[in-house]
Amino acid sequence: MIEFCLWLVIVVIITAISVIAIPILIITSPLWASTLLVIYLLLKALGLSSIVSNKCSQIYDWLFFKSDKPRKFLWRNFYNALCYMFPQEEWKTMNYGYAVSSETGYMIVLAKEEESERFSYQLYHFMATGFKKTGNLQGQIIVEVGSGRGGGLAYVVRNLKPLSALGVDYSKQQVEFCKRTYTYPNISFVEGDAENLPIKDDSVDMVLNVESCHCYGNFKKFVGEISRVLKSDGRFMLTDFIVADRVPAFEAVLKEFFDISEKKDITPNVLLSLKFDSDRRMELIQNRTPICCRRLLKRFSGSEGSAIYLELESRRSLYLAYNLVKKSS
């Protein structure tokens, strides 16, 4: 009852604000709009606009890629919102993909319905096979942290036949999407946090982590958790994009818990994938998303010319893949 009253009060306040404030804003719009315009023109004339937009870029970079709590909060809401806006089942993966250097970039044979997300599945194939070294995962219990829309993990289950697979993601919308979409008896999904895994010690043969760890507030806590849940001979297959300057610190954390058995710089393969896939990504954004979100989505889409594409092309950021084995303690 108390809760209901509270809600009522909140609703009344919001209604009051919108009834009173919005007309005021509209009536006074010539005033504040022209002020904004003057400020904008002034900044531009003084050559300060680049400084301001630089500052904005920095703030954005800090919020999404460097901070601790805000980063976690923002990404979670970003993915929840994305999945809410875009519940279509034909969209199953969310990574920049992997292409081999050939005319087509193809590495594997896929089913027809997998074709549209070919390069994303190729990245999964590349990782789950330990860089194309094993043909199957028979008898293994595998976990994916940051499983997103689940298409990658489902691909691995269909094609590499692990004993069982568990996907963990902290975005409720996406976990519900996975639960609806994949119904194999040996695949399951839970809501959980990469930094506090709800999985018991020494129980997993392989952990997959694909383009997810850039979202985590506390990377070291995450790596420690993976080491805890893996069996002593377990493997950790990790891939993501990383700002080149931060690679040494990144690897120092990995080496606290793991030995790097193999490392691949797959930046060229990811760039190729983005090239092959550019049109499809742009088409999706252009035709299927509300106009107000397109700018932000294009920024993340990785299409040729987008911010992340230029980052990788200039090698200011790298896309790296690691095959890690647990340190014997």
Partner: protein, 123 residues
Amino acid sequence: MRLLTHNLLMCNLKTCAGQNFPLALQANEISEENTEFNLVLTQKMLGKLDWKAFHRVADSLGHTLPEELTPEDQNNDELMQRLHHLLFNIVVLSGTLTCQSCGRAYPIDKGIPNMLLEDSEEA
């Protein structure tokens, strides 16, 4: 949530000492699916299962299983079919998973366990 998944989940409160596995299951709503019996798959899964935890959770759903699984049991067709059913066909749609040590309850909703901690609970 299948019982197979229950076999991996633990309480992840950092302050939770001791017995954070297995979680006690309270099932409010269960659906039974109809996957085809697969002896080899069942045997393989049993090889990887924490039997004590599985025994306990089956018990809480009213299925009594042997305390220990002997090699002969692996060829007991009737038992294998029951185990297959428990592992792959029983899906808990709603309920809770409760830590036996600290009492933290994790809800299961729409078949999905929510193992996320509140901000204030994180270490």
